[in-house]
Amino acid sequence: MAKALLTLISKEVKELLRDPKILIGIIVMPLILFPAMGSAIGVSQRAVSRAVRRMAIAVYDEDEGSASQELIEFLSKDNDVFIIEAENLDEALRRFMEAESSILLYIPDGYSERMTSGERCMLRIYVHLRRLNMAETGKASSVEQLLTMYGEECSLRRIRRILEEAGEELQPEAVRRPISISYASILKGVVLDVPPGAIFGIIMSQNIMLPVMIMMMNVFAVQMAATSIALEKEQKTLETLMTLPIGRMTILAGKLFGSIIIAIAGAVSYMIGFSYYMRSTLGFIPQLTIETLKEAGLRLSPLGLTLLGVIIFLTLLLSLALSLSIAVFAEDVRGAQSLVGLIYIPIMIPSIILMFTDVDMLPAGLRWLMLIIPYTHTVIASKALFLGRYTPVLLAVACMLVFTTITLYITTRIFSTERIITARIRRWRLRYGG
């Protein structure tokens, strides 16, 4: 039995891996596509940040006073400022639109006077959306930040002067902002000098990455199993296989494990590509958060890791058994791929919904609907594991065990009857052929 099983698994892996569609589409493509996408986005982001770092700012100084001069000098320190000479704002705007710069700062008449007398001043930024790209909005917010900084500086200067005049020995910063807040988070009994937002960010990253990984692994597993059985039908090898001196259970196990191996290889390849993509675009899990994750005990314990392995294994078995049971009715690979598309819906829905919320937070009807989808329990378990809550994990394992056993039983029944040879769906009707 063991020798026959190993022979079958080896054949399955060879057959699937040598299929260019599978090798390129599932193993090689994620390793090329995601890093390529990541690099492309990274390059464009770097180009944006370069463009934002030193900007060309057009200024229409209607005021032409001492305060406006001081502001222009401040902006000129790190940027290329050029003054637009015009009779009025309309003319200034016309000239600005003809110029290269996409940012115009309008300093209205009376700005210096209001600034000197301590009144609130109004400035206006015009953004010329020529190319509708990120750099244009980035520049606008950068100018706004510069002006806020300048405003802060003016404010402190004013407070200092008032305090000197009043003979008060107070710190201008303390007068301006009397309260300063720093955060700490308490998680699983550990006090961390980290704001809760950062912890939430880490958990979110786990909540997104793990369900995505499990979802992808299942999608690959479904594809592999469907392809594996459909290839037997397409290549007309199924009848021969079924008359070899090996048990039907061994044939089924060979298909399940062969598909699992390719599915895991596909998922690993996908995750390598995907994490490179995340790193190169968003810096998704910076080193600081990984250290915090360890400090907070948000990483998996050996028991957690084992339970995660169990739940992933059960989920994969369920997907494969479902896929084989459905794909058996197809006559070729294309037909099988279309039929097993039905399984993607219950795989994806829980992963997507539970990425953003918990099942307990859903309305009662939807909650029960979610709970009868086996894949919901996988996502629940994977989330609970990171928080060290083992009771819901064990419940999820029990649920998955029941779902998987029932599905495997049905698959075994299909494999041990003649239905595997005769039944096929054509135009959504079951037909039998002899």
Binding site: K11, K236, T243, L244
Partner: protein, 239 residues
């Protein structure tokens, strides 16, 4: 002991009755042919004997073992070549032979060597099967069917879809192997000349029932026909 005993075999697919009480015996060591037109029930009969389908009623025994109740044991004694069989395109011919051999013998190499000899494909066995012609695939499949030295080889239309030269080669291989090893061969064909050349005894099947059984010579004599084709037409009332 009879190699195959088929008694009152009925097989229904939904409302369609493919076999309507089919009965015949195959003696050990003989080459037995099932002859009949398309849709006569040949493939269904062979699939039942090969444990792929289950009889609706009636009994089928292979070397005394019931194909339904003792399917696993039957599978160890038979080797089945379906009419439209293929092989794993992404494996090489040699890998395919080794794959099959590993289920039958501990001495895989000896069996694979036998497969190489029967197939006559030489160096081409190292190439992927998807690069083979239809004739080459059929020879490879025949090699894998016979190399395991089964007690009963079931060959469904062994030369189907082959050109004259390949068909001749395959027929020669079957005859040579049957004489050399003395194994029982049960084959189906609608090619009467092929059956006459290969078979010791034949059964004429039409509409899911056996209408006549005997050696090609007996059948020719019985119907006063020059060949099996004429005998078949007479026997089925089409002559």
């Amino acid at each position: 002991m009879k190699a195959v005993e088929v008694k009152g075999l009925i097989k229904r697919f939904g409302d369609f009755e493919a076999l309507r009480g089919c009965s015949f015996n195959v003696d050990e060591g003989e080459v037995f042919g099932l002859i009949g037109p398309n849709g006569a029930g040949k493939t269904t009969t062979l699939r039942i004997i090969a444990t792929l389908l289950r009889p609706t009623s009636g009994s089928v025994k292979v070397f005394g073992l019931d194909v339904e109740r003792r399917a696993d044991e039957v599978r160890r004694m038979i080797s089945y070549l379906p009419e439209e069989a293929g092989a794993y395109g992404n494996l090489s011919g040699e890998e395919y032979l080794r794959f099959i051999a590993s289920f039958y013998s501990d001495d895989v190499e000896e069996m694979v060597e036998e497969g190489r000899r029967i197939s006559g494909l030489g160096e081409r066995l190292r190439d992927r099967i998807k690069t083979y012609s239809r004739g080459m695939v059929r020879r490879l499949l025949l090699a894998r069917t016979l190399m395991t030295s089964p007690r009963l080889a079931i060959l469904d239309e062994p030369t189907s879809g082959l050109d004259v030269i390949y068909a001749y080669e395959v027929r020669r291989l079957i005859k040579e192997y049957a004489e050399e090893r003395g194994i029982t061969i049960l084959l189906s064909s609608h090619n009467m000349l092929e059956v006459e050349y290969l078979c010791d005894r034949v059964a004429l099947i039409d509409g899911g029932v056996i209408i006549e059984e005997g050696s090609p010579g007996e059948l020719r004599e019985h119907y006063g026909a020059e060949n099996l084709e004429e005998a078949f037409m007479e026997a089925t009332g089409r002559g």
